[in-house]
Amino acid sequence: MSPIIKLTNVCKSFGSLVVLDGLDMEVAQGEKVALIGPSGSGKSTVLRTIMTLETISGGEIEIDGEALWHMRRNGKLVAADEAHLRKMRSKVGMVFQQFNLFPHWSVLKNVVNPLRTVLGLSAQDARARAEELLALVGLKDKLNAYPGNLSGGQQQRVAIARALAMRPRIMLFDEVTSALDPELVGEVLNVLRLLAHEHDLTMIMVTHQMGFAREIADRVLFFEKGRIVEAGKPDKVFTNPDSDRTRAFLNAVLQG
């Protein structure tokens, strides 16, 4: 089966700083992949380029067999226009470290408005879908609360419901527990565990929660300096890595 995400020789630089250095990466449909590695290794940038929040300096990204940053026009490959990017974005959802809920809207409206505005759902359908997902993340009693009145863990669960409601085929999780107080991490991880059972949903998680990555990932990719140094089943990578760099990183993280 062809991969749902395919990165070929992807390069990304910010000025003279090279963030992604000829990265090749494939993710199969339905696969749950954890990206680990030291900060600045390019893990988050991978997610951000797939979500089109960052452009790429070179290489090619394909989503669902279609080029992300290019499109065919009259048989020629040209730079993607806004319409193409919007079509591609509809396949991908993302959850951020800082939640990024819309503070001027209630919890319900945070989920309902994208459904109405972007997908054009009717008010009833949008509300039904929003309530269903907010119930899934355990926040059915917070529909009318505002983000400013919620804990970080609750905000992040709303953000997950909001992204899921758009029914993307791929979900990107960018360090979604890193901004949370330790006692709130569990409730967000529980939601992710729930999603991991969704057979068709492709999930890519950048995480520092090694135990969690080991528990739910089908595959772990260890990043360093904008490349994948090691990739494999969690049990293999976490207990008997091939690379000395991976071993050193894991020792440092797991002892800390």
Partner: protein
Amino acid sequence: MSLIYEARWVFLEGILTTIKITIAASLLAFAMAFLAGLGRLSPFAPLRWLALVYIEVFRGVALLVQLFWMFFVLPFFGIVLDPIVTAVLALGLCNGAYGAEIVRGAIKSVPHGQSEAACALNYSRQQALWKILIPQAIPMMLPPFGNLAIELLKATALVSLITVHDLSFQALTLQQTTMRTIEPFTVVLAGYFLIAIVITGLFRLAERQTNARLGRGAR
């Protein structure tokens, strides 16, 4: 004090004229501020340039010169404007240029994560602007817009120089006809101050309203 009492209708007419000009010019200024402020943020280069030229020209020329130019120079080109219309146009356009930078600055100061979340949810650029960025930017615009409205009120005193019978004009006239200086100008001083207080109050109210509507009231 009897002078003031006798001249009360004259003062009242002046105050009403000042208030009318302030309101009309403020409305024009806010409309221009939004047009030019959004123009500066447009992805279309010609719109950005147009907005920039407008802002720089009307910010860069003294208001009095704009008033005189519109009132005394435009007739040479066959455009004769009513003094009140001239006053509203000059004050509105000039303050709109300042306001444009307020609008642009407020929209740009909405945290970047908001645009990123909008992009990730596949909002179009226009949808994100109108539904997510502008509603969050408006509460930030209100305090500087309040300042601007008060500046505008005070600047209306200049329109007495193009024959508009505003509050300042009436005071000057009374001083010349009665040879009294203290009373007319003290009334004028109090008049502007009172209108300014009302403006301040209105903007406070608006701030409280928007904050409540943005769900920040409960915090």
